[in-house]
């Protein structure tokens, strides 16, 4: 099965992408195989990931899910630091170190 999998399946740090013989694509959000803590890099990569998923006609159904018993647990505010300095834009608030409370 892995022989024919498209390159984009393994292109994103925080997405585990698998597809069965029926074309059911499962997209699992993760950070190091545990619950996803969302980063600025993910924000960039998800644009491309969802585009490629949408364009791949071999995908017949798409399932979005999390990892480690959580969907999306938290956000890494520090990873968005450059964004504040460069553009004044920030998705997450800057004041929380951890968002899993």
């Amino acid at each position: 099965l892995k022989i024919n999998q498209p390159n984009y399946f393994s292109a994103y740090r925080s997405l585990k992408v698998t597809r069965d013989a029926q074309g059911v694509l499962v997209v699992e959000f993760h950070t190091d195989d545990g619950p996803l803590t969302f980063t600025a890099q993910d924000h960039t990569e998800f644009v491309d990931a969802f585009y490629r998923i949408s364009q791949d006609r071999a995908n017949k159904i798409v399932i979005l899910t999390g990892t480690g018993g959580e969907f999306i647990l938290g956000i890494d505010f520090a990873s968005f630091g450059d964004v504040i300095l460069n553009s004044g834009h920030l998705e997450p608030g800057a004041r929380r170190g951890s968002a899993d409370s």
Binding site: F50, S54, I63, L64, F71, I72, V83, L90, P92, R96
Partner: protein, 167 residues
Amino acid sequence: VHDEGVQILENLANIHVPVIAAIEGRANVHSEYALLADVIVAGEGATFNDLPHFAGGIVPGDGIFTAWSYRAGAGRAEAFLLNPKPLTAHTAYNWGVVVEIVPNGKALARARELASLYLKAPEVTRRNTRAHFIQPLKERIVREVGYGLSLEGASTADLVKSMQAKG
């Protein structure tokens, strides 16, 4: 971040096959990704929240309001986003956001069952049904999220400035 924020949601909306979200545990950040699915299956202990926005001092303008408003109604979405706290799977079910609650750990298995069911429909029917179902939400995303992210960005810039002023 602004451009990406719009494109992530538009690209999700442009997935023209049925999309199922299987939620276990906490959907604390970007729960709107799940709300762009056609159906959401949740473990009974699942919760939704919005940690990054109003609770952190910025506008929930990235599409989370648009998606919750579309699925749950504007009043519920506004109250939820102005006072973010864990929203249970059962409340989300009563709001029509979650369509099935399953025992914890079974959401993905149930999503796969639904996928098998949907696969019985002809391919073009499956694709076009998704296209039809997502269209109203896609239109709202296109209309609302660019401006929402501008408002969010402006609130962020102001917040950062006031934090810097305080040192």
